[in-house]
């Protein structure tokens, strides 16, 4: 079966990738991709009003989340690190994510996972730091295991699929690739790959693994003094919360927004060590405010959608899992505030740093509006997990 709204969004993102790849330079590539990406977001939102028989409301809402993340990739990818070819690959990965929501046919999800991993790998290929090799070491087995999981019957198939998913989500102890990937790969690629919907296992063991990952990831994130390295562990932590029961759509938008904002700050500075050289929130208020709000959104702060989401899944989890998740979210909040104060204060002199550009502001404002709307009216949120593969 094929869901029409995600399929339309996938087609539009593919068009965005094509347009971005053919542009003469990165700036025009970003502008063109943002225009087509906006059409994809609008199509997804319209789909909420016109549900077809296959795309449930939840699937369409997840498509909106993925498309919104894609729009942030298109509008906020730093010029220096995102050539038209890299941006095109990132947007193609976004298209595949929509495709994963569209197709409910056996084997297609394995194919899409493989293509998505190949696209990212091809953008990393040939780097001196060997990031492509590290990526393949984890992602190639994940794709193979997902395929094997579809073939194997019963509980064994479920176990193999779960291992594939936790590898893709970088759940501890299979997390080794993500911190380095977030630290070194172009942020657009990181976001496109990280927001891909996955079939989250419903087994209790997954919940326990998720709780431990959420807590340990958050503990490492809060102890680091580099915003980009901390971001890697923050993503690991929220992926752990996904296994506990957090909504993929909420995590996708918040994580994409925070990652792209960190990317925007990194593009303006040499390094992202807290307090060195420091910034000035009075001169870059939108950038600073966006960082804080997106960080707090990941931490399940009130008036943001993560709060209602947290309320739902904490009511359904075992006590120890709840304890770990609550502590993890407290640490994620501290990391967000530490990053905010570390990156946007301490400026000794006028830095000349630019606030959000109009294109960045467009994407950030849209993400903030969506977060505020779904935070104030959480009924608009999709249910926790959306089935993204054919029934097993």
């Amino acid at each position: 079966m094929i869901a029409l709204v995600p399929l339309a969004a996938a087609a539009l993102w593919l068009a965005a990738a094509a347009v971005a790849g053919r542009a003469p330079d990165t700036r025009s590539s970003r502008r063109a991709a943002t225009r087509v990406g906006s059409a994809a977001v609008a199509t997804s939102v319209l789909g909420l009003l016109l549900p077809d028989t296959v795309s449930t409301w939840q699937v369409t809402a997840s498509t909106v989340a993925v498309s919104l993340a894609g729009l942030m990739v298109a509008a906020m990818s730093p010029v220096a690190t995102h050539t038209p070819a890299v941006l095109a690959r990132a947007l193609a990965v976004v298209s595949i994510s929509c495709g994963l929501l569209a197709f409910r046919v056996d084997g297609v999800d394995v194919l899409l996972w493989a293509v998505s991993a190949w696209l990212v790998w091809s953008a990393l290929r040939g780097r001196a730091d060997g990031l492509d090799r590290l990526f393949v070491v984890y992602q190639a087995p994940a794709v193979l295991l997902l395929g094997l999981g579809e073939v194997l019957p019963g509980a064994l198939g479920d176990v193999v699929t779960t291992i594939a998913v936790v590898t893709r989500l970088a759940v501890i102890p299979l997390h080794g690739w993500l911190p380095r990937f977030v630290d070194r790969a172009p942020v657009g690629l990181v976001v496109a790959f990280v927001v891909t919907p996955v079939p989250v296992p419903s087994a209790v063991v997954g919940m326990w693994l998720g709780a431990a990952t959420a807590l340990l990831g958050a503990l490492v994130a809060v102890s680091l003094a580099d915003a980009r390295k901390a971001l890697g562990y923050l993503l690991i932590s929220v992926h752990g919360l996904l296994l506990v029961g957090a909504s993929q759509a909420v995590v996708a938008v918040s994580a994409a927004a925070l990652t792209m904002t960190v990317g925007a700050v990194a593009a303006r500075r040499d390094g992202l060590l807290y307090g060195t050289p420091g910034g000035d929130l009075a001169r870059t208020p939108r950038l600073a405010f966006a960082y804080l709000v997106f960080g707090l959104a990941l931490a399940g702060f009130p008036l943001l959608p993560g709060f209602a989401d947290e309320h739902h899944y904490l009511n359904a989890a075992p006590p120890l899992v709840v304890a770990c998740a609550i502590a993890a979210m407290a640490l994620v909040g501290i990391t967000a505030m530490r990053g905010f104060l570390g990156l946007f204060t301490h400026a000794k002199a006028v830095t000349g740093e630019r606030d959000l550009t109009p294109l960045e502001n467009y994407a950030v404002a849209l993400a903030l509006a969506v977060l505020a709307l779904t935070g104030i009216a959480p009924g608009l949120l999709p249910s926790t997990h959306v089935e993204v593969t054919a029934e097993r």
């Binding site: 911190p179 307090g275 640490l331 204060t345």
Partner: protein, 407 residues
């Protein structure tokens, strides 16, 4: 009743959201407009609170259901003899601080940010106080912590206020664990004693009780008006309010109060600046309120909270003029002010006095213990884990580790 409760809780929140949206759009509003909106919202909130007080006196306490925010989250606002006085106090202090800051922060680069945060803080306090459920209380509780931490870090060009804002936020988040866990235990039908202990944990952080006391004296690095409303008056009062609202009493609450009161009164006596002295004085009084709450003396505790809040706010607002006031007093007396604390010299033996002085100066070694024995080891574990991950990833990438030139 519903409209009044909505006005009391919602006016400052609307002011915050409206000002935030306008500021995001890049439009620079005049100072008078920004402060006018926040003061106006606080006046509206205080007026609604006063009308509620009259209605409550006539018809008795009431709880209003506003439907569900989302499934499993009922929106209930409550007006009774506990919530209304504190709601009026919070809104009135919001007006007072708003009016005071018009001159105090005139032409300050962060003027608009200050009022935005003040609106958020007043909104959060009203939400905490008027919340009819523990779930809704969490919303205001966390927003109050955020506004409070950002106000401490207001002077963001100086490292001190920024570090202290972060410290306050860390303390709040750690104590918030107790509140959110209490909600989770409450929903799962857990033991009331456990819920009570978790609420006590949450209250200790917000009210700066031991061992979460380190942030309060440092919080005074924020602007004086925000120190007055947050740390002299309302913010620290939210801890005892939480206990009063949920009927948490008993020896554990009394013990926390007694230990903190002794600690804070000792530490307060060796401070050399007025704002730190006032911070410890606040801590002492709030600790005594904890004792009253623990003993079940609810009315005494509420009266104590309100009178302390009003007095302390006035003292903190006046504190920048301390030297001026001191000279006036000396002129009026015709000589230096008499020494204080002689009774301690009579009561405390000489050898113990030096030890006590050092003990108080080091703040009972609590902060040092937390830093060296709790936060330090946890941070090191995290950093080592990250280093181990990086090492493994480098090996798997099959690249050579960076070679550092030997000098």
């Amino acid at each position: 009743m519903t409209a009044l409760l909505l006005a009391a809780a919602g006016a400052p929140l609307l002011a915050f959201l409206g000002l935030g949206a306008v500021m995001w759009s890049g439009r620079v509003l005049p100072e008078s407009t920004v402060s006018g909106v926040v003061i106006g919202a606080s006046v509206l909130s205080a007026s609604a609170g006063t009308a509620l007080a009259v209605l409550c006196a006539v018809r008795g306490p009431a709880t209003v259901a506003l439907g569900s925010w989302f499934p499993g989250f009922p929106l209930l606002l409550t007006a009774d003899r506990l919530s209304i006085p504190i709601a009026i106090l919070g809104a009135l202090l919001g007006c007072l601080i708003g009016a005071f800051s018009q001159r105090y922060l005139h032409r300050d680069p962060g003027y608009r940010r200050f009022y935005l945060l003040l609106a958020l803080f007043v909104a959060a306090v009203e939400l905490v106080v008027l919340a009819g459920t523990l779930d809704l209380l969490v919303v205001g509780w966390e927003l109050a912590g955020l506004a409070s931490a950002l106000l401490i870090a207001y002077f963001h060009h100086r490292p001190g206020p920024v570090a202290h804002g972060l410290r306050a936020f860390i303390t709040y988040r750690v104590s918030d664990i107790g509140l959110v866990a209490a909600v989770a235990v409450h929903h799962s039908g857990g033991s009331p004693a456990l819920v009570g202990l978790l609420l006590l944990w949450a209250a200790m952080g917000k009210a700066a009780q031991l061992p979460f006391s380190g942030w309060l004296p440092r919080a005074m690095e924020g602007p004086t008006p925000s120190s007055a409303i947050c740390y002299g008056a309302v913010s620290v009062s939210l801890g005892p309010y939480l206990l009063l609202r949920n009927g948490v009493t008993g020896p554990a609450v009394v013990a926390v109060g007694v230990v903190t009161a002794v600690y804070a009164t000792l530490a307060g006596r060796v401070q050399t600046d007025i704002k730190s002295t006032l911070a410890y004085a606040s801590m002492t009084q709030i600790a005594l309120v904890f004792v009253e709450v623990g003993l079940g003396w609810d009315t005494v505790a509420v009266v104590h909270l309100i009178t302390h809040a009003v007095l302390r706010s006035g003292q903190i607002l006046r504190s920048p003029s301390l030297l001026h006031d001191h000279h006036h007093l000396e002129q009026a007396l015709g000589g230096p002010l008499p020494r204080t604390g002689r009774h301690f010299e009579r009561v405390v033996p000489e050898p113990l006095r030096a030890w006590l002085y050092r003990f108080a100066l080091e703040r009972a070694y609590v902060d040092a213990f937390l830093l060296d024995r709790v936060i330090g080891p946890l941070t090191r574990v995290g950093q080592r884990a990250a280093a181990a991950d990086d090492h493994l990833a480098r090996r798997m990438s099959a690249t050579r580790p960076p070679v550092h030139a030997a000098n």
